[in-house]
Amino acid sequence: MDTQIRQLFLGLEVHAPWGDVFPRGRLIAPEHRHLTLAFLGRQSLPDLLEKLDSFPALPFELAPVGEFDRVLFLPKRQPKVVAWHVQWWDEADAVAGFRTDCVTWLRQQGYAVDERPFLPHMTIARGHFSPRQWREAFHPLPFYTPALHLYESLGYSKYRCVKSFFFRPPFEEIEHTADLAFHVYGETKEQLFVHAQAALAFAYPELVRYRTAVETVDSFEGIVRELNRMLQRMDVDQGCPLKAVTYSGEITEDNGVLSWEMIIDV
């Protein structure tokens, strides 16, 4: 009798401008890349699904964004996987708080959860690999997490999404004949700015190095000026394929979410 006992975990799906070239190792396919929040182990799937009605509410509407800022080899003593460390650009506290809420909820439902301190990371490869090659090849990469999934491990680094909770994307690329354009979203001007940075970095990942965190942005013009400073820093250092973020468009609001059609001169 199939009791539907499955290897389950909660994780955030990850989207990034991955690129095609990687050092040696058994790569996790892009569609399977994720950031684990809580590992449940072998559990009854139907039991868990029944309980999900009381699952903690998602603390944010828009997908959190961040960057992979360094390479890790885990576990430290006898590494079996290559992983990329996560550095959040926004919602860091909200993600950490949500993770705590998830763990609390799981325990309340009778599930044992790993007690070790949470190290936010994404496994990128397993198997035989050269740490030196992975270190040398590493460049910071932006990402966002479009969904929270209850995953089932299928083995061989493949996973199935059993139950999903989707976030709104932080930006969407749109058709523009001559240049580059995105719809960018944010709940505050500061978040709109961060998501605009992410959009630019998705187009040209090298821009991650030139990003600076800004505490507050006072205006639309302020957002554009700061974005252009990022492009300018890259241009002085190594050349930048983007000429400038234009002042085109306006910030509009719809149901508490700000939106801007950002056009970048290429």
């Binding site: 058709e175 004949t177 013009e221 241009d235 190594q238 050349g239 394929p241 001169d265």
Partner: protein, 471 residues
């Protein structure tokens, strides 16, 4: 469908409505109208018509496509006393432009090995793209900037990059008057310091090919162009220096509230006589003169490559013309002094114009129209059409977005693809090549037909690309 009224061959008027100060005038054929998303650029034509002091029409060329503020392919003239100057009507890449040279060697004599050697030598000598390719050989000092501002392309020639005769074959003789380098920020100068003599990225290029057809044989003869000759076409601008000049000015103009009343912030514009307006004109001229030097130096590097590989002496690589297609110039039209903004549009003076050097005064000004890297580019002659303030198109114009283009060519070896079509491509980035594939552009044949039909310029020669360097 678009509320356009046909007023002449390939000429449509967009009637005044709302707060438009003048009507729009669109140079286009029905065929081209059907090919692109026309509504967005048309709305930009309407917006430009709101500029204070605009004279005549808000004009759009047949290579029109969606830009920001101004449409790409937009022309607007404003009165010098009562009108405004809009940095968005020039663009970030101040004096982005094109130059054409011919080499008196039949292209068909360049066999495959020589072509490969030549393109590799040019790729080696002319920095392009980002990374290593973004740095030129000269790190500019402030004294250099001062000299470039004052002399334009002549500075490059005085430093060993070309010949005095090149200046007669350059728009405005390679220098815009009134430049003042101190009106540019230290930040702008820092950005441009290492970039002089580099092509840049995106749609910038160096192209080598064959003069395939002579469509106005008499004018071609007057210009010393022969069928079958080899040509060199260069597309580049003012690099990070110009971009920053534009950015600094936009920031300043917005702070000063000059966007008030305009339908698009990117159109922000200062009264021409104001200190801000005058300062921008001086800074823009400085950046324009940097761009003239840039193309001068790139051509000379190409000349040196021809010498190295084919033993063609540099003097024999003869500059035909150099045009600006992102610029604002003070010109006289209809008895008035106007500031003519050309954003992705080219000046096209007709025969007899006093501004032209003697070799072009009888014929009219050469107009350069790059197409795409497979089909064709064109050499045309200006007809001095007053309706468009002596302006013509600047290229084929994009028909497809960069995302669509990159997606369409995903997984294909683009260099092999183009080689199979008879074009050798060298590029620092295959992504750029994917975005710049020929099918991303309108058919330049159709665009120049519209230009000719509207009486803006006439075809002189059709140029067939065979070797292209992309940034």
């Amino acid at each position: 469908m678009y509320n356009l009224r046909k007023v002449g061959p390939a000429l449509y008027e967009l009637p005044r409505e709302g707060d438009m100060r003048v009507p729009g005038l669109v140079v286009i054929t029905e065929e081209l109208m059907g090919e692109i998303d026309f509504e967005r650029p048309l709305s930009q034509v309407r917006n430009v018509a709101h500029l204070p002091g605009i004279v005549g029409h808000s004009i759009a060329m047949p290579d029109i496509h969606w830009g920001y503020g101004f449409p790409i392919g937009g022309v607007a003239a404003t009165d010098l006393e009562t009108g405004v100057i809009s940095p968005g009507g020039v663009g970030y890449d101040i004096n982005c432009g094109v130059r054409l040279a011919v080499v008196p060697e039949p292209f068909h004599t360049l066999g495959p090995k020589k072509r490969k050697k030549l393109i590799d030598e040019i790729f080696r000598r002319v920095p392009s793209g980002v990374g290593v390719g973004h740095k030129g050989k000269h790190a500019l000092t402030d004294a250099d900037y001062q000299n470039i501002a004052e002399k334009g392309a002549r500075w490059a020639i005085e430093n060993g990059h070309g010949f005095a005769a090149d200046l007669d074959a350059t728009e405005s003789y390679g220098v815009l008057p009134g430049a003042e380098y101190t009106t540019t920020s230290e930040h702008a100068r820092e950005r441009g310091r290492d970039q002089l003599g580099t092509v840049g990225s995106g749609n910038h290029f160096v192209e080598i090919g064959e003069v395939a057809d002579l469509l106005s044989p008499q004018i071609a003869e007057a210009w010393g162009i022969e069928k079958g000759e080899t040509y060199v076409l260069i597309h580049s601008g003012s690099r990070g220096f110009g971009h920053q000049v534009c950015q600094d000015t936009l920031d300043l103009f917005l702070q000063r509230g000059f966007a008030e009343g305009l339908p698009d912030r990117q159109l922000v514009a200062a009264p021409i006589p104001s200190s801000e307006g005058q300062q921008y004109l001086q800074a823009m001229a400085t950046a324009a003169n940097y761009a003239f030097c840039n193309r001068q130096m790139i051509l000379h590097a190409v000349r040196e490559a021809f010498h190295e590989v084919l033993r063609v002496s540099p003097e024999r690589v003869r500059l035909i013309y150099d045009v600006c297609h992102n610029i604002a110039k003070v010109e006289e039209h209809l008895g008035r002094r106007l500031c003519v903004h050309r954003k992705g549009a080219t000046r096209a003076l007709g025969a007899g114009h006093e501004e032209l050097a003697s070799q072009y005064r009888d014929t009219g000004q050469p107009v350069l129209v790059p197409g795409d890297m497979r089909r064709a580019s064109y050499l045309m002659v200006g007809l001095g059409n007053p309706q468009t303030f002596c302006s013509s198109c600047h290229g084929a114009g994009r028909a497809r977005s960069r995302i669509k283009s990159a997606k369409a060519w995903r997984g294909v070896d683009l260099f092999e693809q183009m080689a199979g079509e008879g074009v050798i491509v060298r590029a620092s980035s295959s992504r750029t090549v994917a975005e710049e594939m020929p099918d991303a552009y309108k058919d330049v044949d159709v665009v120049v037909e519209a230009v000719e039909e509207a009486g803006l310029a006439k075809r002189v020669a059709r140029l067939k690309p065979h070797m292209v360097i992309k940034g």
